[in-house]
Subunit: 303 residues, 2 copies
């Protein structure tokens, strides 16, 4: 019996920090609850979560605390990829044990120019190390950041060898042509998520599963609306409006801008904090962001 797979809009949930830069589990749960209420799934520990600035114990504890706060694990797709095989196995096993419906898995990203066979071996070792038929992996292709990407041949091989385990991909190549190629792969029920809502309409038209996008942290309602009504007559206008909002965020360091907006709209200023090597927006940047969002009639409802 095959397990349900993800579709729709997921947010790589931003991670709030206390003044000592330790993660705030409470504020994270509350943001997750809000995202769920707006129709978004929870890709916690993504790139925009500063996941690679958190260590494995911090991620284990945050995941525990989300489940203790009654966040539905069926809506959780934590990022569990890591440079160290041992970390990837441990965090993935922990996510499965907690009942997370899927994991999003970066390739190991320190060593560059590694062969496909080596990346295959990595995913294969994780799958065998976790050894659970409840494990469902969504591959994470983000060459602009990780610098280590996943070739089409590697994806096909993993899906062929682990058809019930490797079930989808997030494509953050930023290249629509690549996302289209993923949608054209001859793999049964392979779930293709674009890494930005900029491509959401195209992805839905091409048979894709949805998007996992940074800006779903701040604009989930409108993104989910396009996902749900992508075949309606006003979809183009909705896409255009989404692009306009995204362009504002993209004109700042993205993660810091997402946190600044969340801080502004929620009134919780601790959201402004980021971990080094990232920097928070300056006061001037915050003010400009606020002005630009107001001019675009942007709001984060009920946060």
């Amino acid at each position: 019996m095959s397990l349900p797979r993800f579709s729709g809009v997921l947010a790589p949930v931003i991670t709030p920090f206390k003044d000592d830069l330790s993660p705030s589990a409470e504020l994270l749960s509350s943001h997750c609850r809000w995202l769920l209420s707006q129709g978004a799934g929870l890709a916690v520990f993504g790139t925009n979560s500063e996941a690679n600035s958190l260590n494995i114990n911090e991620k284990r504890k945050l995941l525990d605390s989300l489940c203790e706060a009654d966040i539905d694990p069926n809506r959780l797709m934590p990022g569990t990829g890591a440079c160290a095989l041992s970390d990837a196995v441990e965090l993935t096993a922990h996510a499965v044990q907690l009942g997370c419906a899927g994991v999003l898995m970066l390739p190991p990203f320190y060593y560059k120019g590694v062969p496909d066979d080596g990346l295959y071996a990595f995913y294969s070792e994780v799958i065998q190390g976790v050894a659970s038929d409840r494990l469902q992996i969504y591959l994470y292709h983000i060459p602009p950041v990780a610098q280590v990407g996943l070739s089409l041949a590697l994806i096909e091989r993993l899906c062929a060898d682990y058809p019930d385990t490797v079930v989808g991909i997030k494509d953050s190549s930023g290249d629509w042509h690549h996302t289209q190629q993923l949608n054209e792969l001859d793999i049964e029920d392979f779930r293709v998520f674009c890494g930005s809502e900029t491509f959401l309409l195209q992805n839905m038209q091409a048979g894709g599963a949805g998007c996992i996008s940074a800006t779903a942290n701040v604009n989930p309602t409108a993104i989910h609306d396009l996902y749900e009504y992508w075949d309606s007559s006003d979809a183009d206008q909705k896409q255009e409006k989404l692009n306009q909002i995204r362009a504002i965020f993209q004109s700042y360091p993205m993660i810091s801008a997402l946190k600044a907006a969340t801080g502004i709209y929620s009134g919780e200023s601790s959201w402004m904090r980021v971990r080094p090597p990232l920097l928070p927006l300056s006061d001037e940047q915050q003010q400009n962001l606020r002005t630009e969002l107001e001019q675009a009639a942007f709001q984060m409802p009920d946060i």
Copy 2:
């Protein structure tokens, strides 16, 4: 009173794995002992140690076991940089507690294009988090792999603000001009190590401190000999001979080739193992490597 600083030749010590891919502490200690006997210091947990394929608990335990095996911590410069600030603080503090005379510290390398101020904040948070006047950091500049480098301005700022803590650098830019610029910085007793023995003679002539080089795992004696006698009349020939051996290793995936040679010369075949995403040399590659090294009259003495 300022603490002694490193100089000479250090090996980024290769990490042996058992058949379940867990690290072999015993074999690591024995290789370290051999390296020390050949004049090399121990930059364990470097790039060539597959350090980024090990998690923090594995690294903590290996460091403990080296000290328990009476490896002199004054000769240890473990790599303690990490993407996660929390990991970098924890492992660095542990190294200091064990008495390691220095640590080699990568910048956080997942997020790309981060500002110097963010990298400064990262190192600064580590230094303040460890809070020990026994901490001595050697920065690790390796843009070809990490993709995140350390600008001259950042290095000067860190040294100015933490003159007793930030005491040197390993330059693996592969660009001699850059190493020369580092040697010309106006920083008291700043120890510049080149990341390959290819530049050792030039680095010594420029006032550098030595080298921390992959091939010091297999050719430490000859590299140390050039370090010691760099101003003798036959230094050019020695440099040429080192380059010839290095070129052989560089024509293979470096880490796998270092391990293969160590396996061949020690008769301990478990050295051949690497962790994914790396792959071991094929049988044919191993045979070719052996032949090329024999033709170059290369040996690893007394291993």
